[in-house]
């Protein structure tokens, strides 16, 4: 049975951008305020799941041809990579560093390697979340 989901589709088209933007915002605000990789990743992941629910699997998969298992793996790789990067500089495992950089247009910004770690966490969360939802819904 095909349900009439015009309202859902129309709303999602607009809302999904807001959700994804919120996810990115939460991800970046995590450095000094509530937020961070895990929460940002969850919001981004639920945005993607919402797309899967609204449109069917094939449509989304043709537009977003990622293997989400590999996204999760990439995330773990980023996070552990940022952790063992410190071994190269002979600092204790997991040591992070930060500094103030002058970037054209944006001005002086505070950059930190924690962001790489957090990006890894976010990718892992997105990957696992979507993989779980897909593995349940695929065999229907």
């Amino acid at each position: 049975m095909k349900i009439n989901d015009v309202i859902l589709r129309t709303v999602v088209k607009g809302v999904v951008f807001i959700i994804l933007t919120l996810g990115v915002y939460l991800f970046f605000s995590g450095h000094n305020a509530p937020g961070g990789g895990f929460i940002g990743g969850l919001v981004l992941g639920s945005g993607i799941v919402l797309l899967y629910i609204t449109y069917d699997l094939e449509t989304i998969q043709s537009k977003m041809p990622f293997d989400f298992k590999k996204v999760a793996a990439l995330g773990v790789l980023l996070a552990t990579g940022s952790a063992i990067g410190s071994l190269y500089f002979n600092a204790p495992f997991l040591t992070q560093t930060d500094g103030y950089f002058n970037i054209p247009i944006l001005g002086e910004k505070h950059l930190s390697t924690v962001t790489i770690f957090e990006a890894g966490v976010a990718l892992t969360v997105i990957g696992t979340l979507v993989t779980i939802i897909l593995s349940i819904s695929e065999d229907e």
Partner: protein, 112 residues
């Protein structure tokens, strides 16, 4: 405030225990989720509920808030998220293969 929180934890634990003791798979999984929330609140409460202090030692003269319980809870939440997600998928597959979500019918070792 602490006693209120402990009572809440107690209620959550009893709800979780009740759900875990039932036979339906999905109820048991919800029960474990509620239990894990209860223990997160417990960690927060025994860590001390203080308002207004900052968790950074160099930022003010005190009193300081202990930030560690929150870090512990975040870790525990991530782990319980992963476990619950895995359990849900596993329960779904078991339901599909065994044709039952009732633990009473999932007993037995050798009677394949």
């Amino acid at each position: 405030m602490e006693s209120l929180m402990i009572i809440l934890v107690g209620i959550l634990v009893s709800v979780g225990t009740y759900l875990i003791l039932s036979r339906q798979m999905i109820r048991i999984i919800l029960g474990t989720a509620i239990l894990s929330h209860a223990v997160h609140l417990l960690i927060l409460t025994v860590g001390g509920l203080k308002k207004g202090g900052v968790p950074l030692l160099s930022q003010s003269d005190g009193p300081y808030t202990d930030a560690l319980p929150q870090a512990l809870i975040l870790t525990a939440i991530v782990i319980s998220f992963a476990t619950t997600a895995f359990l849900l998928v596993l329960a779904y597959r078991t339901y599909k293969t065994n044709g039952s979500a009732d633990f009473h019918e999932l007993r037995g070792m050798s009677d394949e």
